[in-house]
């Protein structure tokens, strides 16, 4: 075992700091205990290839680092730690090995050691910002707020716009009972990034400042999503994962990045290994739809249904596809089936609501929307649909609230300003309608919805003036 284990807060024990200039003795090929039978053949092949490479080049720290990353990415933390340590014994200044080790030590709850490992990364790669902000968050976890703040500020020296550091500074301020110091960081970030976690933190800050109404509006839209910050070295480890779940995660990352061709290649490859995996088939259908291959998409989904008729996501995907081809009857049938199979599937209720709006069945649509939003739907377009249905059924206060919720997240949403004006018009509150239009146009002058509504409001005001009623 290499001399890498540190006592909490005590630094190195049992050995001195590694001498980075001294060549290390060759390490024997690692023989960790790997539960081979637990892995699918693909994971086994990847790991065995990594082991084979190490056997072929036992003195090569880079090959050994790669094996550590393979263990790490495939859910073998103990083997990964051991192999990272072997790699560091050969090349003590390898910041990527320190980084992988730091992430695993964090995962294992060895926080003080993880902090020290991140410090090693920063010594060897001072410009790698994630190592600094990771350390900041660990210090925050330990309640060492001042040290955490220093780390976040050090991150910004390296990467002045780092969202991770600014969120860290905001969290430190909130933890210190200084919501006023958190607000500027969060508001400036929200101006450039739409993120539920920012809404959550800013809502908390407002709440603690007594700005309850603003807090309530922000928090009404909060999902329980922890933040994801850019971290390329961690990405390499995640990409080393060869399990089905790792592959699905990778497909999703490619889709999120707009790289649909590579996502398609990865998906097809995964389906070759697991032809009856419904999640993969649904991903394939999603990609086919995005690439305009609608017939192929429906074929894929029908294949998924033949495998398991009771898998609700397949029905929802089919509903979307039939809706896209204007087959509302089938679209509704599949949305309905999805809600029957999984009554808690918010998106299915939402889809059913949208289809019912299209069929002018507004009371039923609102029932679906009510369920969908109670289950946590957050989508702005969906909220527009909901607000529209509420407006058309005369539930004006509820409609106003929905538009206001959207505006709390995005003050430049012209459609919501137009929606507010629409509701006010229906309430015969011409002054409020005009005010909404004017405020909206100041923020979203190019909004088609708003321009149309401005004209409607103006005509209505003119009409009232002609009949002698001032707005």
């Amino acid at each position: 075992m290499a001399c890498l284990i540190m006592a909490p807060g005590m630094g190195w024990t049992g050995c001195d700091l590694p001498d980075q200039s001294t060549a290390q003795a060759p390490m024997p090929a690692p023989e960790p205990t790997v539960p081979w039978s637990s892995f699918n053949s693909r994971v086994q092949a990847v790991l065995q290839a990594g082991l084979g490479a190490v056997s072929a080049a036992p003195d090569d720290p880079t090959v050994r680092l790669r094996l550590a990353q393979l263990y790490h990415g495939n859910g073998l933390p103990r083997q990964a730690i051991e192999t990272y340590q072997q790699s560091l014994d050969m090349e003590p200044g390898n910041s990527r090995a320190w980084y992988g080790l730091a992430l695993l030590l964090t995962q294992e709850g060895r926080i003080d050691e993880a902090i020290d490992a991140h410090l090693q990364v920063s010594r060897n790669a001072p410009d790698y910002a994630p190592a600094i902000w990771h350390r900041g968050y660990l210090l925050l976890d330990l309640g060492r707020h001042a040290d955490a703040e220093l780390a976040f500020r050090a991150t910004m020296d390296v990467e002045p716009t780092s969202p991770a550091a600014r969120v860290g500074l905001a969290r430190t301020a909130l933890s210190d009972g200084r919501p006023g110091d958190a607000v500027p960081h969060l508001e400036s970030l929200r101006a450039v990034v739409s993120n539920s976690y920012l809404d959550f933190l800013l809502g908390q800050a407002y709440r603690r400042q007594g700005r309850i109404e603003e807090a309530a509006l922000l928090l009404a839209n909060v999902k329980g999503d922890p933040p994801q910050f850019e971290d390329p070295w961690h990405q390499v480890i995640l990409d080393a994962g060869a399990s089905t779940q790792s592959r699905i995660d990778r497909i999703d990352r490619l889709i999120d990045a707009g790289n649909l061709r590579d996502a398609m290649t990865e998906t097809r490859s995964a389906i070759e290994d697991e032809p009856e995996n419904l999640v993969l088939l649904n991903r394939l259908s999603h990609l086919q739809a995005a690439l305009g291959q609608q017939k192929a998409c429906i074929r894929t989904l029908k294949r998924a249904l033949r495998i398991d008729e009771a898998y609700a996501p397949t029905h929802l995907s089919l509903s979307y596809q039939y809706q896209a081809s204007d087959d509302r009857s089938r679209a509704r049938a599949h949305a309905q089936r999805a809600t029957e199979l999984n009554p808690n599937m918010a998106q299915a209720h939402m889809q059913l609501g949208i289809l019912r709006v299209q069929e002018q069945d507004l009371p039923q649509a609102i029932e679906s929307f009510d369920t969908a939003f109670a289950l946590g739907i957050q989508d702005t377009a969906a909220r527009h649909q909901y607000a529209h249905a509420l407006t058309r059924t005369g539930r004006f206060p509820d409609a106003l609230k929905q538009y206001q919720l959207v505006l709390a997240l995005n003050r430049n949403d012209g459609r919501s300003w137009a929606g507010l004006a629409d509701v006010y018009l229906l309430q015969n509150n011409l002054a409020a309608a005009r005010d909404a239009v004017q405020r909206g146009l100041a923020r979203a002058p190019d909004s088609h919805h708003l321009q149309t509504m401005a004209q409607v409001v103006q005509e209505r005001i003119q009409s009232e003036m002609n009949t002698g009623t001032q707005p």
Partner: protein, 567 residues
Amino acid sequence: MIRSALITGLACLLLAGCGESAPPQRTPPATAAAPAPPAAPWFVDATTESNINFNWTSGQFGDYLLPEIIGGGVALLDVDGDNDLDIYLVQGGEIESALDSSRTNPASNRLYRNDGDWHFQDITEESGAGNTGYGQGVATGDYDNDGDLDLYVTNVGPNALLRNDGNGRFTDVTTASGTAHPGWGTSAAFLDTDRDGDLDLYITNYISWSPETELDCSLMTTGRDYCSPRNYDAPARDVLYENLGNGRFSDVTAKAGIDTSMGNGLGIACVDFDDDGWTDIFIANDGTRDLLWHNQRDGSFKDIGLLAGCALDDEGRPKAGMGVTVSDIDDDGDMDLLVCNLTGESDSLFRNEGTYFVDITASSDLRTTTKPFTRFGMAWLDFNNDGYLDLYEANGRVLRSPVPEGVDPYAQQNMLMRGSSQGVFSEVLPRGGVVDPISLTSRAAAFGDLDNDGAMDIIVVNRDAPITLLRNIAPDAGHWILLQVLDEHGRDAIGAVVSARIGSRTLSRPLLTNYSYLAANDPRIHLGLGANKSVDTVTIRWVDGTAETFGPLAADRQHVLQRGSGH
């Protein structure tokens, strides 16, 4: 039909990196000083001498049915009025038998009478309390205002209300009372939601589940195992029954607005969090955001968890909420909140700021200490009577360890943390405050003074293993006082808040039996007094908002404080 769990892109379902890792062992400080002598234990295992022979039987046989990994529960209550706490243990058994009306679950709940001297007698058969549902949790409360505590048992399937006749015999009044909710009940609590002088009943439900909807989940490193509740995507609505005062309850879930939010409910604590004189309800959900039902004073509740800052942790994450405990940890008179969670997720300590909470887990030193464990039963109590609340947590995995420490791959050690005047918690070693750390799959823990010596004892329910009965022998313990707080009917005044003036400090404690996890606890208020030999005054704020003061009261004894006898 067993369907494959089709794990989507959700993080932390069953992925390596999000799973349960082995807890770190404490590394001794690397100083040159001579090794410190072993610390004196705070508890001694009294299970063997107790004559209690009870394993919570999961019935597991390889199908990994989710309820097998969740239960079971325990209650401490004086069933026969002899002024000592008896023990009611909820049993699991065979799920499919319990859910099939043509079959009988071979296991039943057990009632053990406290005969003194740490000896207990199984009186299940004569008591009539042996419900045979596949049991999860239990709540206690005197719903009929006759001066004794009744039992409400939650099951996978219909729950049961057992009325206590005061001498250790129970009558199953489930049907007559209208409380046989058929869902998967977990923690439940009696509380007076409408201040009408009788106890209503809130039932936390976990997920919508049946053996037919069970999934097949596997981990890369350990193979098939129990699924995460998130795999099912089927959170359940909780239930609120209003006590009609005539032995019957009415389901007012929808009328009260409790149907407007839902989650994978496991834990509950009911106190007046915002000091408006009306009892609120906190629900810990497993993998979905926690709920804080604010009492609207008109029979309805509104979930304000997000606005109040206790629905998510400070990373914006819904944790796997299990157990809950409530008390005033900072002597400011309002009720703070502690929720325990899954391995990889720390406890969440929410300090009450009057109308909202601040997550102070990290500055209380609970963030990194608790993270390695999957915690269930828990309580903030002053176990060493030094005047500061300590914390006990009963732990056990929900996924097998890839490197089990013993024969039970789900076993984890339980923990004890000492509180301090600085508001930080430090772990008591040996782990759990016992000579040989308890390493089982622990679930419910109930807390109470079983031998009336002024030191709070613990009973822990373990999955497929004997219960653990811990007698408190904390060294250098301070003075103490026990308060039995009764309302005008002579029943435990659940929902009242007791504030004890001791020198320059005021210790406030809620009177509630239902907290921790699937558990019902000693209804008496226990206070550690440190070096103080008396309590100057005790002010009780009753559930209807009125206050009454008692005292001074001498230390090291139990006092009965009945409404109307103070000033």
